[in-house]
């Protein structure tokens, strides 16, 4: 039985004698200690050997069986009374300061995503035929066959900003039958291990292929050791963290990076007229409040076309919507550091509003639950914690020009426009660098199918093998054997195998 207070997960085949205990103190919550274990850098090759063995069993499972397991586990997690979720929520609240309601909304949004239909759709979108992960499949364009292999081991550097998000890269790796070494973030270290523990209860064969641990950002020995055994790396982080990882990659590494990005919304006059100010404001408030605005997909500003429904009036209505949303879904408790930064930013905005009333206004909650700022330009820092700027723009097209300098770091656009104007703006935002465009109110709910950061994140992990120009490549009967069926029996069989063929790689 895993330690419910631990932030790490090691399969039972790992020799515990080779693990060292540590206490983790988050920089923002120095009074909160988490416990965990990790191998010394020199022990990682032995752990990797065990992971490769677990991965070879994972690779023997049909992708349909893996999808079935993930669907079952994530269905459990969407139940707010699921014991693992209740325990994780408690610990996430303590670590992040998010309110329980904010954590619940975050987990609801994140984990509802990883269901059977979406997982299949994701694989179809990125790989064409999901069964290419099981065997060679016909490829009509090629007049041959094609097969995709995931990495043996994927190293994952997780982020702690969005409760539940660590499930995503772990699931992506498991879908391509890769073992995983995940490093949790000090800001929210609890979810990943809890998720894998729940996976172990449904399908030990999958959890056997996952290690969750932690090392400090400046522990280059552990990072190098993990990169040394990983074939692929998925990394979330800021410029400095990503640069440090990139500098240590080998040319043969597959690398998927999710750096910091900038998201915003745009509202045209026609959209406001059609949808109404109150409804639109409620939708925008959801965009801002979900994940406490910590996600890369959360808007830092909404750019509002000037006209009959003035940006100032919209900001006023938005303030009311933010207050209403916060009533049932409060922000939570900020750390000293975050509160200090928020207070300074808020005070500076109040100063600007006092000295330039025509361009600036602020609406704030009594605490830090929400802040709306009417401002002539974009915020310099994406501070999160539900601080949204409403920026007037002369025309909707000017919004594109305003955001163009963000370029390839432009992520998500909540595009409140209709008809031909929507189509024109969508084209322009796509050209400017945006990787997702959605309706206001849906910014926080990207599907797993979305090409996160503008790239295919599952396909980015696999290596293809094509058979072409060979007489043996013609279709056969087994090509009709599609993957879209549950196959939990085969998972159970793999789990029995695992017990009878338990590895003691770390001992070797």
């Amino acid at each position: 039985m895993p330690d419910p207070s631990a932030v790490t997960w090691f399969p039972s085949w790992v020799d515990r004698a080779h693990l060292r205990s540590f206490d983790l103190f988050a920089p923002d919550r120095p009074d909160l200690a988490h416990r965990g274990e990790r191998p010394e850098p020199a022990r990682w090759p032995a752990v990797a050997e065990g992971l490769r063995a677990a991965r070879s069993r994972l690779a023997g499972l049909p992708v349909a069986a893996i999808i079935d397991v993930i669907d079952r586990v994530c269905t459990q997690w969407t139940d707010r009374e699921f014991p693992h979720r209740l325990a994780a929520r408690r610990r996430i609240v303590a670590a992040t300061g998010f309110s329980p309601e904010a954590v619940d909304r975050s987990l609801d949004v994140e984990l509802a995503n990883y269901r059977r239909a979406t997982l299949y759709a994701t694989l179809r979108r990125e790989l064409g035929d999901p069964a290419v992960l099981d065997r060679f499949r016909p490829d009509p364009e090629l007049a041959g066959r094609t097969r995709a292999h995931g990495p043996e081991i994927t190293g994952v550097i997780l982020t702690g900003n969005v409760p539940g998000l660590p499930a995503l890269p772990i699931i992506r790796a498991l879908l391509v039958k890769s073992a995983v070494i995940a490093k949790v973030a000090s800001g929210e270290p609890a979810f990943a291990a809890a998720f894998v523990a729940s996976l172990a209860e449904v399908a030990p064969a999958l959890a056997d292929a996952v290690v969750v641990t932690y090392w400090r950002r400046d522990d280059h020995g552990s990072l190098d050791a993990v990169l040394g055994v990983a074939d692929a790396v998925i990394a979330y982080g800021g410029a400095e963290a990503c640069r440090a990882i990139r500098a240590r990659l080998r040319p043969e590494h597959r690398y998927v990076e999710h750096p910091h990005t900038f998201s915003a919304g745009v509202l045209t006059q026609r959209y406001l007229a059609e949808r109404g100010l109150a409804g639109t404001a409620a939708a925008v408030a959801r965009d801002v409040a979900t994940f406490n605005q910590h996600a890369c997909i959360a808007p830092q500003a909404y750019l509002v076309e000037e006209g009959e429904h003035s940006p100032r009036r919209f900001a006023e209505v938005l303030a009311a919507a933010m207050a209403a949303d916060a009533e049932g879904h409060p922000l939570g408790e900020l750390s000293d550091r975050a509160a200090a930064a928020a207070a300074l930013q808020r005070t500076a905005d109040v100063w600007r509003a006092a000295t330039d009333e025509s361009s600036w206004s602020t609406w704030t909650s009594a605490g830090f639950d929400w802040t709306v700022v009417l401002a002539p330009d974009l915020p310099e820092s994406g501070g999160g914690n539900r601080v949204i700027r409403v920026v007037p723009v002369r025309t909707a097209g000017a919004a594109v020009d305003l955001l163009r300098p963000v370029g390839a770091r432009l992520q998500n656009i909540g595009l409140g426009a209709t008809g031909a104007q929507f189509r024109e703006l969508a084209e322009r935002f796509a050209a400017a660098g945006a990787s997702r465009i959605c309706e206001p109110g849906r910014m926080a709910e990207p599907s797993m199918m979305w090409r996160h950061d503008g790239m295919p994140c599952v396909a980015g992990l696999v290596r293809w093998c094509d058979i072409e120009m060979h007489q043996e490549s013609r279709a056969s009967e087994e090509d009709d054997d599609g993957p879209d069926r549950p196959d939990s029996a085969r998972v159970s069989e793999a789990s029995r195998h695992r017990r009878s063929d338990r590895l003691h790689a770390a001992r070797r």
């Binding site: 605005q293 910590h294 000293d336 509160a339 300074l344 002539p376 330009d377 994406g382 501070g383």
Partner: protein, 360 residues
């Protein structure tokens, strides 16, 4: 109605401030009330700011990056200093009128006399900051040069930091002459420069025992981005390099936006890295404000707000952007509030636009 720079009321206010700063008895409360009136008359927006925050709340330091307030439209702008990059990627500007500059001089000299030079007669002042000529926009260079000129031995005192680093011949000459003549030395400079000098002397085997009465004053430790030096670490280096033992080191807190400085007032560690408390005095007062509502805190951590009655060219209080701890003996400044780091994976826009604004 706005007060003119040459209004008799401003004359009287400046005279009273100068007298108070020089140590004459006076009514600091009355001076503060007149400064508030001056700010409200010449910069009416400040009343709206105080209404939305709290009366007397300092002007946020970031304001000096974009639209620095200046209270006298009719005053000649005598000198402009630039804020250090620790305040933000874009340097701020702080402008002084002739009167404002004179009041700053009075305050700098009075503060140094009281905190540093008591009992010393023309010591050798060694400055580890550039000369004012080399760094005309750096207020620390200006202030330390003024102090050296006022209190230091005119022959043996030196500026030991040049464009290429330490000016070793001048430094050695000053130090060795002081030792030979048994003249106390006052080392003054930025925290990092002082620590680097100590390390260099230790590494080169050039440690010295400075004459009795010598002391060191560093500034900026808590504001350094290159990694702040803990108080006790700096003291150990000073002891090793110069034989400066207990009771010979002070840290001062100053800002371009302020005319006065705050010196360590008690040798008790209050901050997490051993930062000592600064008590302030009649003319300059450090307060800690709770981040939730900007209410003043008598005890505990919060945002540093400094009210400096020697400031007449702009609102007299600054919300400095520092984190500080209030205690029995005063306020310890423990570091800059990190406003540049993104929360989560949302980007700091400053990072991709190079700190420049993107205008609509």
């Amino acid at each position: 109605m706005a007060l003119s720079y040459v209004d008799p009321a401003v004359d009287r206010l400046c005279a009273d401030i100068a007298a108070l700063a020089s140590g004459d008895p006076g009514d600091a409360g009355d001076v503060e009330a007149r400064l508030i009136e001056l700010a409200a008359a010449n910069f009416p927006a400040i009343t709206g700011f105080w209404r939305r925050t709290r009366p007397g709340t300092g002007v946020p330091d970031v304001v000096y990056k974009t639209a620095p307030p200046f209270l006298f439209d009719d005053a000649h702008r005598a000198r402009t200093f630039r804020t250090s990059s620790t305040t933000g990627r874009v340097a701020g500007e702080v402008t002084y009128s002739e009167r404002g500059l004179r009041l700053m001089d009075v305050s700098i000299v009075a503060g140094a006399r009281h905190a540093v030079f008591a009992g010393l007669d023309r010591p050798v002042v060694v400055r580890l900051v550039p000369s004012a000529a080399a760094a005309p926009h750096m207020v620390m260079a200006y202030g330390m040069e003024l102090i050296a000129r006022t209190f230091g031995d005119p022959v043996l005192s030196t500026c030991a930091l040049g464009p290429d680093g330490f000016v070793w011949p001048a430094l050695r000459l000053s130090l060795d002459s002081a030792i030979a003549e048994e003249r106390p030395v006052v080392l003054m400079g930025g925290t990092s420069a002082m620590a680097n000098l100590c390390r260099a002397l230790i590494e080169n085997g050039e440690v010295r025992q400075l004459p009795a009465g010598s002391r060191a004053v560093d500034a900026g430790g808590a504001k350094s981005r290159s990694g702040a030096v803990a108080t006790d670490e700096l003291r150990a280096l000073l002891d090793q390099a110069f034989g400066l033992g207990g009771g010979t080191h002070l840290n001062l807190f100053g800002m371009t936006e302020l005319a006065s400085q705050l010196y360590d007032s008690a040798d008790v560690a209050l901050g997490p890295r051993g930062e000592r408390p600064k008590a302030g005095h009649a003319m300059v007062r450090a307060r800690v404000r709770h981040p939730d509502d900007l209410s003043p805190r008598e005890c505990g951590a919060g945002l540093l707000d400094v009210a400096d009655l020697c400031v007449i060219d702009r609102p007299y209080a600054v919300l400095t952007g520092d984190w500080a701890v209030a205690g029995e003996h005063g306020v310890a400044v423990t570091g800059r509030v990190d406003r540049t780091s993104a929360r989560g994976c949302s980007l700091v826009l400053d990072g991709i636009t190079g700190g420049g604004r993107i205008d609509a």
